[in-house]
């Protein structure tokens, strides 16, 4: 699609307010041989009920339909895994459906759950996502992931997904990074930040105290991307409970937090980057009509949009999502982000797609220190912290669970419960992980609104999930 019709640019509308009342997640790791997937899902669910100070049985009694995100059947060699989990959670004979949109599966599962409540079909639904990537050796795992590229035109070229991002990294680095070594160091800084934040997260799989030099010396996977530029391969589950207002108030009666308003929007683009055609840049509310007219002059080679340097799917997820929720400037209106840092390069590309920085200037979000919990340059709170969970690079990428984990993490800040959940000694012990002596409270103080971006393939499906404290809506009538 090159031009949009008016109908295609309709701002999506929820027919009634929708709320996130609770969420939960399992431990995440490269392999969890001691637990079946259903045990991980039960862990996530019981955590969610515990967050409300009610029993799992009571929470279940409110659920009317279920939305299950699980991407890669071929990893687990089990079709209809949704039916297995649904049965083991004791939710038969409620209606349920499986959702699969690659890396965006978690976000898409929330998209379906929110629409089910907004439409009035259900008043309370379960969105549960999981992935089990430890049932094959890593090289076979890479092969299975590469099956999410075009099987005839792309996958035979090395059977490694990192390669598809590496060509974008190269192009972006040459055009918008002006081939500067400093840009490569900025990419590495993202990995340092996210592995570092993962150290404070007991759920996280890859806590590391590393330097930019460590990233730049890590083994090349697909040049210019190195091992520490890449996301993890994970096992784990995450869930969220989505409700209408009446149920939300009821469920949060004895909870230490209030329900949060939730909106989810989605965009898409070609599976093969090869098929991307030129088009005008769809503008976000904080961008001006002539803003990009000199982009090609400023960055020679950057005139082709989205080319290999932008994600149209992410741009459209933000385009719809901001208008639904009343966001006019993400940096001013939101207090934190969880982004889909599948690779350090895609993190930077996404800053531009979602309007945190204009196209061409994504690196500034890192270099200014705005993306940090505490800005390393000023020592003050970061303007818009991102991926305090550790993201996909430091925390996990258990594909079907990822978008839900991100949403859960954003919610913990708005609920002002981040320290309670991530600092709990018992949880560190239960996960057989050592809480670091320098553990730090990463609560974003006064967080009222946040967003999670869930992203698939090389941008084939992208969702934006926006959460707000209902007492701090941007537009009262939303």
């Amino acid at each position: 699609m090159i031009k949009f019709s008016q109908q295609q640019l309709k701002v999506p509308k929820l027919m009634r307010p929708v709320y996130l009342v609770t969420a939960g997640q399992s431990k995440f790791d490269r392999a969890i041989p001691e637990k079946r997937t259903e045990e991980l899902c039960v862990d996530a669910f019981t955590m969610a009920s515990g967050m409300l100070n009610i029993s799992a049985a009571e929470l279940k009694s409110h659920i009317h339909s279920c939305y299950y995100g699980h991407f890669a059947d071929h990893f687990g060699d089990q079709l209809l895994g949704e039916a297995v989990i649904h049965d083991r959670l004791g939710l038969d004979p409620l209606g349920n459906i499986g959702v699969k949109t690659g890396g965006a599966t978690g976000g898409s599962t929330l998209w379906e759950a929110v629409k089910a409540v907004a439409s009035g079909y259900s008043d309370c639904v379960l969105a549960m996502g999981w992935e089990r990537m430890d049932e094959v050796p890593t090289d076979e795992g890479n092969f299975l992931i590469s099956c999410a590229a075009d099987k005839d035109w792309e996958s035979p070229l090395g059977h490694i997904y990192t390669g598809y991002y590496a060509v974008m990294a190269q192009r972006y680095w040459q055009i918008f990074g002006k081939a500067e070594e400093s840009f490569r160091r900025t990419l590495a800084e993202i990995s340092v930040k996210n592995h570092g934040y993962a150290r404070m997260n007991p759920f996280a799989q890859s806590p590391m105290s590393i330097t930019v030099e460590d990233v730049l010396k890590s083994p090349v996977v697909a040049y210019p991307l190195r091992a520490l530029d890449c996301c993890l391969m994970s096992v784990g589950a995450a869930c969220a409970i989505i409700c209408d207002e009446e149920t939300a108030v009821k469920l949060c009666k004895d909870a230490p937090h209030k329900p949060l308003r939730i909106w989810v929007a989605a965009g898409s683009h070609t599976l093969r980057p090869a098929d991307r055609r030129n088009m005008e840049i769809p503008l976000l509310p904080n961008e001006k009509p002539d803003q990009y007219k000199n982009l090609g002059r400023e960055f020679p080679g950057g005139e082709r949009y989205p080319g290999f340097s932008g994600f149209l799917g992410a741009r459209m997820a933000a385009w719809y999502g901001y208008r639904m929720a009343g966001v006019t400037d993400p940096t001013e209106d939101l207090d934190l982000l969880e982004l889909h840092d599948a690779f350090t390069i895609s993190d930077v590309q996404t800053y531009e797609d979602i309007g945190v920085r204009p196209y061409g200037y994504g690196r500034d979000y890192v270099e200014s220190g705005d993306c940090y919990h505490t800005n390393p340059k000023t020592g003050k709170p970061g303007k818009l912290p991102s991926n305090i969970s550790g993201g996909l690079i430091g925390c996990m990428h258990a594909v079907g669970a990822t978008g839900i984990m991100q949403t859960f993490e954003v919610a913990t800040h708005i609920w002002n419960r981040w320290a309670e959940i991530h600092g709990d000694e018992k949880r560190w012990k239960e996960f057989n992980r050592k809480k670091p002596a320098d553990w730090k409270d990463l609560q974003v103080k006064g967080a009222r609104r946040g967003m999670a971006i869930s992203h698939a393939g090389v941008g084939s499906h992208v969702t934006s999930t926006i959460l707000m404290d209902p007492d701090h809506l941007i537009k009262k009538e939303m």
Partner: protein, 196 residues
Amino acid sequence: MSMFGQVYVSNGKYRLKGDFHHMTPNIPIRNAEDGWKLMGVTNPRSMTYIHTYGGEAPFFEALGKGKLLGTRCDNEGCEYKGSVYQPFRIHCPDCLGRNTIIDMTATAKKTAKVHTFMVCERSGAFNILDKPIKFINIEFEGVDTILMSYLSLGDPEIGMKVVPIFRKQNPTYTILDLSWVPEGTPEKDLPENFGF
């Protein structure tokens, strides 16, 4: 004695010959740190898929004959009539009419250049290309899209002029039958089985 699974089509049906899967026993997985208690089991499986190229078959057949086929929308009623696609698209993405197959070998030889690239040091299982694999994305004059492929000789750079080479001897009938070399490469330097 086993033989590779082979398939042909007759009367609109797949006809199969040979072995399509191989049996291997399950092996228990035990915990070395807890008295070798049972934790799980391996599930070995070797299978052969039967895959149709459908309307893309002419593209893959042509590679072994030294031709690069693309497609073009010739629908008079389409707003984007004249758009040329490489990768080959069976249908126009706008009007969904059936595209016309065109031979764009000459265009590729004259105008192909590297849009972007990467050098891949690791690969997934079942990769058969030698590492490092030099992925290149190739742009052509008058073509709307950008093809992904691999460079067989030299080091890639953005803007570098390249020409296609084809696996004419022992073709695999996959996308690997198409590769690229820097413009001016002599035929004697091409990889085994490949020619211009």
